[in-house]
Symmetry: D3
Subunit: 341 residues, 6 copies
């Protein structure tokens, strides 16, 4: 029987000018939906897992379109409370070459921000679940949302559900001090911690100290140090760190490390020609959870998660629309991009 994963957070309307047009050139916007935890849920649904996404969304048609965008992939949306006034929006301008991508958030006052503890019955939501995932964006949305998140963690922990968290620091949403305090409490419930190179430092002030970094080489010892410190402080069972090198808005290198039982496992590194990088980190989380729930060995786990997210960078929209077979083929070494007939 398929394992079941619950994710909780905000799903936003994503509005992006066509192609490489700038905001001030846009006479139309491509419309899609996305958000850290929703992206993870879709990834997993596309791998054939049972998934449910939990949030609050207005009853009007924009809210309904958000629900539909999840249902099309088979994500269970029955845990979504309907109410509130607006769907959060983010505007995305795709960068190119030396011109960076830009995101303008317009999420204040969205439905999930107005949610209360009464909106979610975690007992029901977690029935039959194996894994619970959230990101650092969710508690940053407001004290009430942080409170709901904490309740969810407690309920999950009680039921023996594995909990993962992607630290995902957003400085537009809260201060480092606030983040440290709130995330510190939440992380005490977390089993699997996902972070990029900056989040651990931004949220917890944890960074590598003892190692001299040589430019151009991965600072492997440094990443291990960060993972060790995180593990020490919060008792994580696994820590995964994604490693992005931005050559230009079009070209990035991408790899990751998994730290487990005191050992570090580094994935291969991919040179990616990017179609859409939003949701790249979330697709890593989706791959990681899939591999863990399916009993992959640590090296296989990190290779699967990185290959999954490498493929995401070639796909338009926040959602990773790839199958297990496609990820395995790339993780297995076939990165040539030859036509599949």
């Amino acid at each position: 029987m398929a394992k079941k994963v619950i994710t909780f957070g905000e799903i936003m309307l994503r509005l992006a000018p066509e192609g490489y047009y700038r905001f001030v050139q846009a006479s139309s916007y491509e419309a899609a939906f996305g958000g850290g935890e929703a992206n993870v849920a879709v990834s997993l649904a596309n791998y054939g897992m049972e998934t449910a996404f939990v949030t609050k969304l207005p009853t009007h048609e924009i809210g309904q379109a958000a629900v539909n965008s999840l249902r099309q992939f088979g994500v269970d949306t029955t845990g979504i409370t309907r109410g509130g006034d607006r769907v959060g929006i983010y505007f995305l301008e795709k960068g190119a070459s030396q011109r960076p991508s830009k995101v303008i958030y317009d999420r204040a006052g969205s439905a999930i921000v107005t949610a209360t503890a009464a909106d979610f019955n975690w007992e029901d939501i977690f029935a039959g679940a194996d894994w619970f995932h959230f990101t650092g964006i969710t508690p940053a949305l407001g004290d009430n949302v942080a409170e709901i998140c904490l309740e969810a963690c407690k309920a999950a922990k009680e039921k023996g559900i594995i909990i993962s968290c992607d630290l995902n620091y957003r400085n537009k949403l809260w201060s480092k001090e606030k983040a440290k305090k709130v995330m510190g409490e939440l992380c005490s419930y977390v089993d699997v911690c996902i972070s990029n190179e900056e989040d651990a430092n931004d949220v917890f002030g944890i960074k590598s100290e003892g190692t001299e970094v040589t430019a151009g080489e991965l600072n492997k010892a440094g990443y291990k140090e960060v993972a060790e410190k995180l593990t020490e402080r919060f008792g994580f069972k696994k820590v995964a760190i994604t490693l992005r090198t931005s050559i230009s808005a079009n070209d990035n290198k991408w790899a990751a490390m998994l730290y487990e039982n005191g050992e570090c496992y580094f994935s291969r590194e991919y040179l990616m020609h990017i179609v859409d990088r939003v949701g790249g980190g979330d697709s890593f989380g989706g791959g990681l959870i899939y591999a863990c729930l399916n009993g992959y060995a640590p090296q296989d786990t990190i290779e699967f998660a990185v290959a999954a997210s490498c493929l995401k960078h070639s796909i338009e929209g926040d959602f990773n629309q790839v199958s297990v077979e496609e990820v395995k083929k790339l993780a297995g070494g076939d990165a040539s991009g030859r036509v599949q007939r």
Copy 2:
């Protein structure tokens, strides 16, 4: 020298699915900008008038795009204060046949709603101006905006500037009681009142009483009664009432009446096959102001205003993009739509 018109209000990002797609079918939105007073400003700029639009808009690119959308027509935007977080949004689904158009407003917390009196220097803004226009939507945005509106009216009155107001009641923004109180005060400064068949009743409880309406015929006596009552209560110099008959989402009849010096002037009535009806009332306002400022006789005035707004219904977007020549040609009786080579 061209006469100068100042308008004050909110300009919103308008997001509409392509063609007749419903919201839940949209994978892209056509993006434009619009808002009652901005629409009037653009109408007038397209007639060759000097116009300035006053509002508050964020400094980010979506705010800038709103500014650019006005500048392209030559509307003076130097009176726009930059600041605040978001541009108000409205989602528009175009109706067809028996299915009505739908508007979802997402305007809470927009920049203009956060404006204060200090944001606008009416002394400067009104320098050299001949006319000031606002609608009932603007004071409905919040007490602070109503306050700013009142200040503007006082400053305009002092300078001998003609003031027009389109009553435009929006029940999502305020109650009838609140509207009556606030609009009542503002209307004491107004010279030219524009209303449709329902606004006078919604805002001031003024409706025709003494006349039996025969179905299918214009209740001419009734409209006159409403205009008289409005004039009596607020001392308007002119009252213009638009008369829309909705046959279906595609087909409307459109006419109007001007009441001036105790006389009623009814325009001819047009049967319109609609391309986009949003901004139809505003384009009437634009036509009316143009005709008044250019000394048209009352009958010519109402014919010009109705022809202008009739043409608007054939044009995509909020803005009326027609010339004086085009309006005159229609007002002069050529409604055949023959190709102009």
Copy 3:
């Protein structure tokens, strides 16, 4: 608890040139999915009913896209067997004025045509179901599909599930003789029969005889006669007949009659300006089933069904994307198409 409806048939990829372009002008096709019974399922899902659609679809991405197109509305797709080589296709050219719409079917060899009885476990599929719906297109796809359809009817009947059938004769798929034989057997299981003015004659040779038709007037007695004859022959509990008058490719009149317990109930007639007429009949079926399952009186039932399908004609694609509230509003008499803010 929501009533549950099962529908069974083919879902096809629908490829239509943009706007009013002809096939030979198309440099792109708008892609959607549709099919008689799938359309009914989506209608009902949009009314908040539990619905499941049963068919066979290939495992490849085009098959998956068909599944996703249903899941987005919450239609249960777990009864869809995956296998076979292709998704049936229909090309649609939208007509205008005197130029009719054209459909080119390319459905030979589609997955459902290759299905066998073993592909469907009706016992499981019908668990908890209240209604089973199919159309005359499904048994026309092949003897094997007719056989599966018969099995489904028997299983449904055994469980006391109400069965409806839309006669829907397709002369490209089978002869009138074959249709009469196969449909005759299937109709013996049917409770609710849906037909348009021609199907009853094409399939069963049943038409009105005794009444002189006066041009331009609905031949009410004639329709009643047809309904009576159908009821006599097959013991239907209800017969619904849709009445379309095609003025041009853009403009149609639309009404219907419900025959029940010897009584005829005629709906009001709508003059529709058409956006997309494909799926018009299916949306009538969806409305009818909804009304029946929710205990509407006969006159209310036929008004709801006709209003629902009237709205469908204003919507792009096969699927009717309207809510119960929207249908009720129109059925209640508001056909003015005024903007909903």
Copy 4:
């Protein structure tokens, strides 16, 4: 063996904003090609006739695209001389309701305008031809083009080829005086004259005099009088006059009259909901030539030509893309626009 028709004139790049956007709103233009005589050639090719279009076009890619646009329909383009600098352009803004369509010509200096007699070998071009067609636009392009046109007429006449001319007066290209003089000489070679209600008057000052026109009724006697006068003056064998009533930019009535051997044949009249009216007259010419070359009786001829051009109004672009079967079906009385499956 198929009859062969030669047409001679200019083919232009047609640039039209999408949908109903005005020129000043356009961020893209739909690109197609068209021109009076090219449109006739395509009509005939689509009816299965052998056709050749003669003109001059630049060697660059825009010129090549014009050639390809004709070749796709099987029009013979080997008689096109390559050279010159530019392809003439016309910008088209589609009107709606009371707003007329607008055409901005940008055709000065196009390749055909720079052509000389040496560019065309009429002996070769007319080999095996049965019919030669041109319009009044071609000689209006310049004295040299008028000269070439005259040469073509002489060569055709010598070979016993039937010559048709659509008077098509364009006041932007020449004066009425000039037109009268040049067209007068050319018409002495013409067998079949096509005109609309205004051209005969604009070019030759020929109009109906003796008859009082009653508003709203076709002035049948008047049209006959015009045809008689034309025939008298130029010895035409047939005169066809198209009769357009413009209700709005969207809705026109359309009919025609054929005058032959002293008899008038009026077609039925169609009420058309217009998709694109450019090329409407040319498609009438195409239908007329087809019917004449295929030996239709006069009444059948005018019905075919009018039905053909009625269908054109439902088709995007200048070219009429319909088959003989489609025209016959409409001419035969089926104007209901019912779906063809």
Copy 5:
């Protein structure tokens, strides 16, 4: 006088989601036509050669659109038999970076597959022809098509027409055993054999054996060995082998070798940033035939063919839309891509 080339095979409707969208994201498909031998015909027509494409296509509008797609380039389509039910389809998803392009074939039951020998009169088709080209896909479509292909080869051989064949193995259409048998017989008629690195092995089990390949270097001796073995077995006059190195879905290296009279001629190698790689091999075939028919020396021949196909990779669609001048400019060494004004 221009040399004439006949090609024979299937032309399919190509349906590709816009840009880099995946199949499951597509709400529209870009429509074009293509197929190995049709692509070669278009290449040659664009070089100014006389070309004819032979196939069978339905009479309906999709079939007609396929015909038109060839006629626009001046390809002679009079040898196309009209009949059958469907046009074969292939769905194309464009890959990016590590994500490969995907092709889903939906070609079963297409018109050409239902063709019989009686559908083609090779005597007429080959009148005046200099070259006949087909690919290994055509005989793979069915025994009847293989039979027709054999007849064509015999007829061509009798007339002294040069025959070329691109081996093009498609494992979805037939087994290696079947291919070996059928292609073996056909190849006995072939003068010029085109193959990529895998086809010779897949079809005939011919591969390089005696040479150790050093990674990253072209195995020049190995390719020569393959060409020698092919020549030995079938008596080819020329063997051309294309050499693709797939770095990613976006970036490929591209070169080729020509073997003639015991000598090998290697082209320069291009690093291509790919726009559309479908039809890349066919454009090589087109370039090769052009160079051969125009008497190019062997080294010039292979440089022309590779430059031609290098340019194809920068062009959307199956068809290579470049001129002789453009190919020569690149073959002559200018690969800088500087703007041509």
Copy 6:
């Protein structure tokens, strides 16, 4: 107070097929406006400078759209004379990989070409101006335009306005001899000369002589020599030379040199993945003028100008749509293209 810059030249309608489609594939064109001096004006307006663009444009809607395209950025268009018949057009086909971009000019007879001295009152135009800019394209349009340009230079010089000129040789517009003569006279008024590697040679026959160029390295001494010679001959205060290395149509290297007071300042070099390279040189001019008018040191000036134009290559259309902050960020060394949230 903001400095004011006047530019004078032609603005054209730019028509480009979507994406990488070739001209012969285009069924639509993306429409924008651009031209050397207009592009500079927009660059500067986007940096917050006061700018005015001077030209002549027709009164019709295409002319109006050109005006609007400038006004949207706040460029002052009151100095534009309205008249003439057409807006010049250029067709742009975007190249890829080894396939170069192509430009087809269709500018003969445009409004500016028909301008006379009387159309421009330089006294008024230059009121309050600090800088005047034109390019070598403008005087190449015709003797009358060259004469107007000379008048402008004289008027500017008299008022002590700084004059800059981008040599920009266009061989389709005039001969080298003519260019040398006309530009020689104009350059005697110029303070700041902008040139690329070829213009100085094409126009004035000035090239580096004494230095051996080593392939692959910037010929720094050579560029200095060219700048020195230019300065010697015309007394320029500053000479800026842009240095482009075209690797392919997609990938270019880009740098520049500023020569001032006998010293050379070389910018860093960028490797650009190009979105649209048209207007690249103009955006350099815009950056240079901004830096000069704001008192940047020479090295900072050239870094700003190159960074500005590097960003332009990532932006669709002729106009550079970047802010001072964005340019400074890149000039300051951040070329990683990381997402800005």
